[in-house]
């Protein structure tokens, strides 16, 4: 089993040449990219490569997680992430339980920990959690016996999104190391940004971030990225352009004068895309605000891989579920 075979990812071996390839994850939860080594990230991406094929079979299901129960606990609205997790769980034959917060006891004032502990009493194996508060997954990982998968916590991390973005980039470019990746938009409120920066810098990409100064978190350059508020500088010769959503629901102040002005200064238009490399790809984690951060002709244009990201999300989440279900190194101690 440990015999190494020629994998399609030999480019990453430049980054991880000094460490042997990982064969399983170190931690029993997936709380953020911050906890993953480059070798573990490559393991998840390689496993997702194998999972991808299942979507093209006549019977899109394997029996791997038969008899396992996964709770999808979503405290914030979500279309893509929740359905993507659910499809991934079902393709692996897990039993899934969706808790819709609008119809749950949370509206009666139950706390997150109480809700989770009550669900745990029904002995699930994993909990996929989305919550508006940063650190909610870390909190549950300390009180719950189930494995916790972070599906987005506040403004902190969204690890499976960053993994599927990396997977999509790798499919198009064959590597991550040495690529110029420009991430533009609402940097301040974005958990997608944080997870992506951690992952991409870990695998050797050159990351540029760009947004209005009011939406740039202070100290972000300490994560090893180049910061600019000039879109043209960020996009010039980029291999990958990643747009972030303007998160109006998290904005209580006036961060910019108007949506129209934002589009004029920071929106991704065809003219700006032409500054990037001719084979650049355009990404967006969704949901898109057309005409705010991205022009429709760019979103639907030839460089856009936005719908591919959604398809790849299922394979990446299957890989995460499979690897966590198999047992992690830190469970050896427990």
């Amino acid at each position: 089993m440990t015999k190494s075979s020629s994998s399609p990812t030999s480019s990453e071996s430049v980054v991880v040449a000094d460490a042997p390839p990982a064969t399983r994850l170190k931690h029993r939860h997936l709380l953020g990219i911050a906890d993953l080594t480059p070798e573990e990230i490559v393991l998840i991406l390689d496993t997702a490569e194998a999972m991808q094929e299942i979507a093209h079979r006549p019977i899109k299901k394997v029996p791997t997680l038969r008899g396992r129960t996964v709770v999808n606990l979503f405290f914030e609205p979500s279309t893509r992430t929740r359905t993507s997790f659910e499809v991934a769980e079902k393709r692996l034959s897990a039993d899934t339980l969706n808790v819709a917060i609008a119809t749950s006891s949370v509206v009666k004032g139950e706390t997150l920990v109480d809700t989770a502990l009550n669900l745990e009493a029904m002995s699930p194996d994993m909990i996929v959690l989305r919550h508006a508060s940063s650190g909610a997954c870390h909190l549950l990982s300390r009180v719950c016996r189930s494995k916790i998968i972070n599906a987005g916590d506040g403004m902190h991390e969204h690890p499976t999104q960053a993994l599927l973005d990396a997977f999509t980039i790798r499919r198009h470019k064959g590597r991550l190391a040495g690529l110029k990746v420009a991430i533009l938009g609402d940097l301040l409120h974005s958990r997608v940004l944080r997870s992506n920066v951690l992952l991409l810098t870990r695998l050797g990409a050159e990351v540029w971030v760009c947004g209005p100064p009011t939406l740039v978190p202070p100290g972000i350059e300490r994560l090893g990225v180049k910061v600019t508020s000039v879109v043209e500088d960020a996009v010039r010769d980029a291999d990958v352009i990643m747009m972030l959503r303007i998160q109006l629901e998290r904005m209580q102040g006036a961060f910019f004068p108007s949506l129209r002005e934002y589009f004029n200064v920071f929106g991704m238009t065809e003219a700006r895309v032409r500054l990037a490399r001719p084979d650049a790809i355009i990404m967006h984690p969704g949901p898109m605000n057309r005409g705010v951060e991205i022009a429709s002709e760019v979103a639907d244009g030839p460089f856009s891989v936005i719908l591919e990201q959604v398809a790849n999300g299922v394979a990446v989440r299957m890989a995460v579920l499979y690897l966590l279900a198999g047992g992690a190194e830190d469970e050896a101690v427990a």
Binding site: M1, S5, A50, P58, P63, T64, G327, A332
Partner: protein
């Protein structure tokens, strides 16, 4: 080893009266190069190509989630780029032991369609079956003790061809 594979290829042609509607599927890791060799031999004998694929059975194993801790088998890709409906599928693996790998492979194959029949080729049959499974074509029967281990090494994976019987090291 190559003489066994040539003989097996002839047996496959004889038993199926040609290679029409036949397809060869190797089980990862070492069934895949064996399947390719048999496929090349069939092409030489019958004068036409036989579709050849690779099957990864990791996601169908019955021991996956049983060991709480242990190295997780790596999932590799399955490549079956042809329609298996109504074909005779010749499944190829290196060693037949408990039969559990073949059980998983049968489950996996059936998720791809409804073959007319499935036949099994193994290079080495070492006995000790735990399931009612039997090979149709055997390279060599090697009686072993459960405490021994058998390793098939192949040019394509390991750099050279050999079959090694190792006594229990404990």
């Amino acid at each position: 080893m190559s003489r066994s594979l040539v003989r097996i290829a002839h047996e496959i042609v004889e038993r199926n009266r040609g290679v029409d509607d036949l397809a060869i599927v190797g089980i990862r890791e070492r069934g895949v190069p064996l399947a390719r060799r048999i496929s090349a031999e069939l092409e030489r004998i019958a004068g036409k190509g036989v579709p050849t694929g690779a099957l990864d059975i990791t996601l169908y194993r019955d021991d996956l989630m049983r060991q709480a801790v242990g190295p997780q088998p790596l999932v590799r890709s399955t490549d079956i780029l042809f329609d298996i409906d109504n074909r005779v599928i010749v499944l190829v693996d290196d060693v037949l032991y408990t039969g559990r790998t073949i059980r998983a492979a049968l489950d996996a194959l059936i998720d791809f369609g409804r073959p007319r029949a499935i036949q099994l080729v193994v290079l080495v049959d070492r006995g000790h079956r735990e399931l009612p499974i039997k090979a149709d074509y055997v390279g060599k029967n090697v009686p072993t003790s459960r405490r021994e281990s058998i390793q098939v090494r192949l040019q394509e994976v390991d750099g050279h061809d050999e079959v090694v019987i190792q006594p229990d090291e404990q």
